[in-house]
């Protein structure tokens, strides 16, 4: 296996499916864990906004039911991200990546603001469309090599198609990276920083993981 993220520190086996952690994926996993813990223990900020056309300003409040729902979605997003960081199976990785897309919409879905909801809707469409290349890439790799195990593919002996890797990366980019992140940036106007930040973090982390996968296999 090419030495991309450092030597394996820990391998967790579930039958023939395994999770493995290198210094690289451990770093990513720990960051997902830290920000999930912050989402659990932090209360949302009282976001101040400016009323245009005058010098007035007002504070946006996050109600308790809204906070509970968004915190739940942020935790789900954190768990999906952590799963994607250690996954040694391409299909599991794609599942976790699409779960990140769904939970990102969920994090802002409870915000009662037309602008934020429109942005979430647009992001949701892009993320949904992106699952096509995401799963398509994994399917193509399975069809040509007969396996979805990342360590097996990385060990050599398989001609992993470049198109499969490119589709996989494209799918993850569609979940919220440049240049498909325009709607997502607008979602960040929503109050509730500890939850909203998970949208940004999860997209970055799954992108960082797919780069490692694409180079490794």
């Amino acid at each position: 296996m090419p030495d991309i993220g450092g030597i394996d520190l820990f391998v967790l086996e579930f039958g023939d499916i395994l999770h493995y952690y290198t210094p690289y994926t451990t770093t990513l996993f720990l960051l997902a864990l830290i920000f999930t813990a912050l989402a659990i223990v932090s209360r949302p900020e009282g976001q101040i906004d400016i009323a245009f056309g005058g010098d007035a300003y007002y504070a946006k409040e996050t109600t308790l039911p809204e906070m509970r729902f968004r915190r739940f979605m942020a935790i789900a997003c954190g768990l999906a991200t952590m799963g994607a960081m250690g996954s040694g199976d391409l299909f599991n990785f794609t599942l976790f990546a699409s779960l990140v897309g769904i939970t990102n919409v969920g994090i802002v879905a409870a915000v009662k603001n037309r602008h934020v909801l429109n942005a979430a809707y647009e992001y949701g469409i892009v993320a949904m469309v992106a699952t096509l290349p995401l799963f398509g890439g994994a399917a193509l790799i399975l069809a040509t090599t007969g396996t979805l195990s990342i360590p097996a593919l990385a060990a050599g002996g398989f001609a992993v198609p470049f198109v499969g890797k490119a589709l996989l990366v494209l799918g993850v980019i569609g979940e919220g990276m440049a240049p498909f992140y325009a709607a997502k940036a607008e979602m960040f106007r929503a109050p509730g920083a500890p939850y909203v930040i998970m949208c940004s973090l999860s997209s970055l982390l799954i992108f960082l993981r797919v780069v490692e996968i694409a180079i490794t296999i």
Partner: protein, 281 residues
């Protein structure tokens, strides 16, 4: 280990002070003394510290600690010669830290700084194109292997100069007062940093110092190779002065132009790496 951290933070702050001095001299101003950023960090350490009433207190404080933690980790990754993929992951995650700074306070200035930080994420993509090009040549992403490769074949700066330029632009995008510094531009007061005062602001200074040191040291290690430590410091200072020249003579771009130019650079780099991949045996 702590002495490395203290030295890196102090030298990084000194470089940022020099950055301000060079920009000022080019613009015919006297400018602050070069140790001004160190004085700022010390001053903020002893000023009254508070958390705004509107802030998400845990995140407001936690994100400062996360910022110091990730750049401390980045320093040890570079010094230990570990995978540059970890280093660049940390570079990208700094965006999330900026985002956290901006959003956690509840201030509209901080919030817009955070939102701009997200939309300028296009600046990170050339970084991965850089990594891909380096991997094509060296066959490894461990810094010690890259340095060993340069020991045999010569500096990567001469082998793949466009890749070195791409990383130079990536570092430029993180320099204060530069063309891409939209996250802390003056119409947003101090952008994402606006509401962090006292010891939290001193923490941000430490993050900035470590970040500057790590990025410049990594540039030297990746593109020039093994040099004595004192020589690395001299080269880092030289690179910083060139960055200061660019910042001094270039106006800050609007957010739209900033993202467009970074996108164009990404496109050019993708084409270059595609060409390398095509022609390499």
């Amino acid at each position: 280990m702590i002495e490395y951290l203290v030295f890196a933070a102090a030298f990084g702050l000194l470089l940022l002070g020099l950055h301000r001095k060079v920009i000022a001299r080019i613009q015919m101003r006297p400018g602050p003394p070069v140790w001004q950023e160190i004085l700022h960090a010390l001053k903020f350490s002893f000023k009254s510290t508070w958390v705004p009433k509107t802030a998400s207190a845990t995140l407001y404080i936690g994100v400062v600690l996360v910022g110091i933690g990730i750049w401390s980790a980045a320093l040890f990754v570079v010094l230990a010669g570990e995978s540059i993929l970890i280093l660049f992951a940390i570079y990208m995650l700094h965006k999330v830290v900026e985002h956290g700074f901006g959003l956690s306070s509840g201030s509209p200035y901080g919030k817009f700084g955070g939102v701009r930080s997200v939309i300028s994420a296009a600046s990170e993509i050339p970084l991965f194109v850089t990594i891909s090009a380096i991997y094509l040549f060296t066959g490894s992403l461990l810094l010690r292997d890259i340095i060993a490769y340069q020991g045999v074949h010569g500096p990567l700066l001469l082998i793949v100069p466009p890749v070195a330029i791409a990383m130079y632009i990536v570092i430029l995008s993180k320099m204060p007062y530069g063309p891409f510094s939209i996250v802390e531009s003056k119409e947003l007061v101090s952008g994402y940093k606006t509401e962090h005062f006292g010891v939290w602001r001193a923490g941000i200074s430490v993050i900035d110092g470590l970040k500057t040191f790590v990025l410049l040291y990594a540039f030297v290690a990746i593109f020039i190779g093994a040099v004595p430590f004192w020589a690395a410091l001299v080269i880092m200072t030289g690179i910083l002065v060139t960055l200061s020249f660019v910042c001094a003579v270039t106006p800050m771009l609007s957010p739209f132009d900033s993202v467009t130019i970074q996108g164009l650079i990404t496109g050019l780099m993708l084409a270059y790496v595609g060409y390398l991949w095509w022609v390499m045996p």
